[in-house]
């Protein structure tokens, strides 16, 4: 059984947000409902100023606090692959998981639209879904939180479950440059122009992700929470960085 993990090399990340738009496209996200967000910070005083940015998907934790908090077992840890997913048939929209998640990567469907006018009014939902744009993806799997959600539920990054779960068994890495694995690679990883993202099996010692975590000192965000993310960050001090408590000006 694979345990899928993502590595984000912050030395290479250019803060372009292609991961965000790729995710929005692949997963039919509402404008601003960024399952995969990039957060910007700045610090210092002119002319000695720095900007930092931090790309942030769901961490697909080994010990996910959201799962513990869910009263209906709608949010769950998939044994095969280690995805943290939401079953929209069980979710009651109570948002307990959103409070429990230390990473702020969950979204409630029926918030006010980030951009007005509400695009859901332009492309109204069909079959009980919250909206239905002509460019929606063909994948539809509500029990895994894949596709366009119904109203009244929480949604989040699935690690592109609809792609990754179909990957050939036993592969060490899902690499967008390998024709055999390209179509199974998560959208944000596949699109990332500076190739700052890698995706592979954390349980496979031959995987590139494991080598990178070891060689380039992979760290996990808010490790002290004990959530044990399956997303690792590599940082040699580039502008893209895990935010520290020093940052004063949040963009």
């Amino acid at each position: 059984m694979a345990k899928w993990g993502m590595v984000i090399d912050l030395d290479k990340c250019t803060g372009c947000q292609a991961c965000t738009t790729a995710c929005a496209m692949e997963n039919s996200r509402l404008p601003g409902e960024n399952w995969q967000d990039v957060l910007f910070y700045s610090e210092g005083r002119f002319p000695n100023v720095s900007i930092k940015w931090f790309p942030r998907p769901c961490m697909h934790c080994e010990h996910p606090s959201c799962v513990s908090a869910c009263p209906t077992r709608a949010t769950y840890k998939e044994a095969e692959g280690g995805f943290v997913l939401i079953d929209w048939n069980k979710c009651i929209g109570c948002k307990a998981c959103m409070v429990a998640c230390p990473y702020g990567v969950r979204f409630y469907t029926d918030e006010r639209p980030v951009v007005a006018p509400d695009i859901r009014g332009v492309f109204p939902g069909k079959d009980g879904r919250s909206w239905s744009p002509p460019y929606r993806g063909p994948q539809d799997d509500p029990s895994h939180g894949v596709g366009i959600q119904p109203n009244g539920v929480v949604s989040k990054c699935t690690f592109c479950y609809h792609k990754v779960s179909k990957a050939p068994k036993g592969v060490a890495d899902l690499d967008e440059h390998d024709p055999a694995t390209k179509e199974f690679t998560p959208a944000c990883v596949r699109m990332c122009p500076p190739k700052a993202r890698y995706f592979g099996d954390l349980d496979n010692p031959a995987s590139t992700v494991n080598k990178l975590i070891a060689d380039k000192r992979g760290t996990r965000l808010l490790d002290h929470t004990g959530n044990k993310p399956q997303v690792y960050y590599l940082s040699g001090g580039a502008a893209a960085a895990v935010p520290s408590s020093r940052e004063t000006n949040k963009a």
């Binding site: 292609a18 738009t21 404008p31 700045s42 908090a69 509400d118 919250s130 009244g152 122009p193």
Partner: protein, 829 residues
């Protein structure tokens, strides 16, 4: 998991929870339709869909032309990824790439040809468009053009274009102008883009072009403006390169980036220099000064003192006879008339940078080979732009980077076949000798009264026509440009367009369309068959093909075919030419014939294989400069030595066949330049420091960069792009005007306040955000919002449009529209 299991043994279901909340009325609804009862059956998986088709096409949201794989299922486009086999995209896309489907399905698109029924024109006038047939639309245009030609006034028809793509659209325009008879067909937008760069290269190395770059092999990047990691083309590939040169390459490429505010490029570099606007040339001069005084120049390319002893000492002249110049011309003269006094201490005073940072940058740049100095709009969008551009480009010569591995070069064109019909066979007497031949261009490009050396002056078209100088236009047609909004001080264009018969071909309801009498909407890019040779990339030739992923959703027509259809309706041989040409597919098939003799590296050899793969390319680049000698590709390597004559014909295309620090091109026009600029005739051909002229009357510089999600006008109405647009501050639907906190406080402006930005030509409003990364003498906000048309999401979105406060001022030599040079005042609104 265990906790949940033990507490909620009853397994509260979604349905039961909804029943409970409905009973207590505790819905707690947020926004629309929260906690609406959902029939569980509705949330079951939808039935399996049809087969997914992948079409190889190219993107349209910046000039880069990235290959895209368009995923279509059941006739709907739902995903776009970079083509793995495309040399620019390599499977990747920038953040704009995935937005393509939103453009295709933009609900505010024009859905077919229309005519205006409200004769009044203005921002607040509804054009009251009504649908018409294509025949009526095309006949209306042709009747106007035929009538003008019969009156001998065909010059009063202008065709302005912006993002032209290839031979099947923009490439057809020149022929139309020559056959129909108008000097104003076409007028390109290059002066509102980056002609300052093109002219700077022309004046120094003789190539009127943007450069191609070998970033993969460079060890030093010195970037002036350009927004390398936000907007510089090809943005997608720039980021791929960045990941490699900064994350994998050994040794890691060092980067110094220069701009007027902190952006992602500066933040990701090794050194950020926050320079005073318009002074990039002073920095470049000081870097050159250090390179010479410290003896860091590349002797194999530049040459050396005859005895090898460096005589470049600050403030002291040098006898030119003591120096043997190799591939440069005028180095010692330049030193004597300008550079000897351009010390880092002097530049520190002009640029406000620290002297130590200037010296350190110069030493790094001068000692790290290969190195590239690159610049684009910003550095040269000022009245002194030509000098800034020449000074920066001369740094490349000093370190020997021209045509070197890891340096920069120029782009080769594709092996296109000739068009199937010869336009020369269809020239009637009017085309050859009609009265239009004596008319200047409306924008006074190429005219002594206007811009003698410019390539285009689109920004002058509106004001000139309004003033009737040199004459008033009658009819104007727009292709992929919206100068009514994008021109500096576009308010003047609104008056000008109100007088003219306006035809817009955009599929989107932009500002120029709001003044249109006819709408002849183009397909959006995922519906088009359109060729596009590459923008300067890595030198070797590359030509893409945009292939329709879906049938056109609406009654639209590819612009190239609209033009051909208009042409068929022009009386006389012009009409015959277009009837013989047929349509754009014929044109593209003819272009592809050229690939038979020059098959691409990917096997593309005809129209069908081009359409299947979406790209033709042929490596390698044919020339290389190595240790001061030029070589041509001999089939195996760069082994064939070139003569100086060959170098002059193919690579350094200046009068002297050398890199001209003393510009022969400027020298040829010295009288005109001196008369129009007041410059010293004896010195104006050298890169030099000249104080820029900042119009506008305010006390703060204004910079309005393009940001990563700026999709050349198409992004303004895309909610996903709007939600993310983030210059530095902002994102989540809000774009701020960045102001240094002290600057704001002095004016009584609090963080987040609504502010008014004013100049001599207008005023706009927006929200302020304190930002320490913006210079205290400068405000920054992106060129994107402030549309008064363009669709439901674009309209009236703050901050207002920078063009409305930008004074129309251009570099007299290059014609570059100086977008970043107006000074404004800011007050609490």
């Amino acid at each position: 998991m265990g906790i949940a299991e033990s507490i909620f043994k009853t397994r509260l279901t979604r349905r039961r929870f909804l029943q409970a909340t409905a009973a207590t009325g505790a819905a707690g609804a947020v926004g629309s339709g929260a906690l609406r009862t959902l029939q569980p059956a509705h949330a079951q998986a939808q039935p399996a869909t049809g087969e997914t088709k992948i079409t190889k096409s190219i993107c349209h949201q910046c000039p880069a032309r990235c290959g895209i794989d368009v995923y279509t299922t059941d006739g709907r486009v739902h995903a776009i990824y970079g083509s793995s086999e495309h040399p620019i995209s390599n499977g990747k896309l920038c953040p704009k790439g995935p937005l393509g489907a939103y453009i295709l399905y933009d609900p505010d698109r024009f859905k077919g040809p229309m005519k205006r029924t409200n004769p009044k024109k203005g921002r607040n006038e509804d054009p009251k468009f009504v649908p018409i047939s294509w025949d009526e639309a095309l006949n209306t245009v042709a009747d106007r053009l035929n009538a003008l030609r019969e009156k001998g006034e065909s010059h009063r028809f202008a065709l302005a274009f912006g993002r032209g793509w290839g031979a099947s659209c923009a490439g057809l325009l020149g022929t139309f102008g020559a056959l129909y008879g108008s000097p104003n067909v076409p007028i390109g937008h290059s002066s509102m883009c980056s002609d300052g760069s093109i002219l700077s290269k022309q004046c120094t190395d003789g190539n009127a072009s943007y450069s191609a770059y070998d970033y993969h092999n460079t060890n030093y990047l010195l970037i002036f403006g350009a927004s390398f990691l936000e907007a510089f083309r090809p943005y997608n590939n720039n980021m791929q390169v960045w990941g490699y040169i900064r994350g994998e390459k050994s040794p890691k490429t060092r980067v110094t980036a220069v701009d007027v505010h902190m952006n992602t490029t500066l933040a990701a570099s090794d050194r950020a220099l926050l320079i005073k606007p318009g002074t990039d040339g002073a920095l470049a001069l000081a870097i050159a000064h250090v390179i010479l005084t410290e003896g860091l120049w590349e002797r194999s390319f530049v040459g050396d003192f005859k005895d090898g002893v460096n005589r470049f000492k600050a403030g002291q002249t040098v006898d030119p006879a003591t120096f043997d110049e190799k591939w440069v011309k005028g180095l010692v003269e330049w030193w004597n008339v300008e550079l000897k006094d351009r010390t880092p201490a002097w530049a520190a005073g002009v640029t406000t940078l620290f002297e130590r940072d200037i010296v350190a940058t110069a030493r790094e740049f001068g000692t790290t080979r290969p190195a590239i100095a690159l610049f684009e709009r910003g550095a040269h969008a000022h009245s002194n732009g030509i000098f800034n551009g020449m000074a920066i480009h001369t740094l490349n010569a000093l370190v020997g980077s021209l045509y070197a591995k890891g340096g920069l070069m120029y782009q080769m064109g594709p092996a296109y076949g000739p068009l199937p019909v010869k336009d020369a066979d269809f020239m009637d007497d009017y085309a050859k000798n009609g009265p239009w031949k004596k008319q200047p261009r409306i924008d006074l490009k190429g005219s002594e009264d206007g811009y003698l050396l410019a390539k285009n002056m689109l920004q002058e078209l509106g004001p000139n026509s309004l003033a009737g100088k040199p004459y008033k236009l009658d009819t104007i047609l727009f292709y992929l440009t919206n100068p009514t909004w994008t021109a500096p001080n576009g308010q003047v264009w609104e008056q000008a367009m109100a007088e003219l018969f306006v035809i817009d071909t955009s599929p989107f309801p932009g500002e120029s369309a709001m003044f249109a009498d006819l709408i002849l909407p183009d397909h959006t890019y995922l519906e088009r068959l359109q060729d596009a040779p590459t923008y300067p990339f890595q030198g070797w030739p590359l030509a893409q093909l945009r292939v329709p992923a879906v049938k056109p959703l609406y009654d639209t027509k590819y612009f190239g075919d609209t033009l051909i259809e208009i042409g068929k309706r022009i009386k006389g041989p012009t009409g015959e030419y277009y009837k013989a040409l047929g349509n754009t597919e014929n044109v593209i098939r003819a272009l592809a014939k050229g690939f038979e003799a020059n098959p691409g590296d990917n096997g593309v050899k005809d129209f069908e294989s081009w359409k299947e793969k979406g790209v033709w390319y042929r490596k390698p680049y044919l020339w290389q400069q190595r240790d001061g000698a030029f070589y041509e590709w001999d089939g195996k390597g760069y082994g064939k030595a070139m003569t100086p004559e060959e170098v002059k014909a193919k690579l350094l295309k200046t009068p002297s066949g050398k890199f001209e620090i003393r510009s022969g091109y400027l020298e040829q026009h010295a009288d005109w330049i001196a008369a129009k600029t007041g410059r010293d005739k004896a010195k104006l051909m050298f890169p030099q420091w000249e104080e820029p002229k900042h119009p506008g009357g305010g006390d703060l510089y204004m910079s309005t960069p393009k940001v990563a999600l700026h999709a050349e006008g198409r992004g303004a109405n895309l909610p996903v792009a709007i939600s993310l647009l983030q210059p530095v501050m902002g994102g989540r639907d809000t774009v701020y005007i960045e102001i240094h906190p002290e600057t704001a406080r002095k004016r009584g402006i609090a963080d987040g306040d609504r502010v008014r930005v004013k100049s001599a030509v207008g005023s706009i409003e927006g929200y302020c955000r304190y930002f320490e990364g913006t210079r205290p003498d400068t405000i920054v906000f992106p060129m994107e919002h402030g549309h008064w048309a363009m669709g439901r999401w674009a309209k009236n979105r703050p901050p207002g449009h920078c063009g409305e406060v930008t004074v129309n001022q251009s570099d007299r030599v290059t014609g570059q529209c100086s977008y970043y040079t107006t000074k404004v005042s800011v007050e609490k609104a």
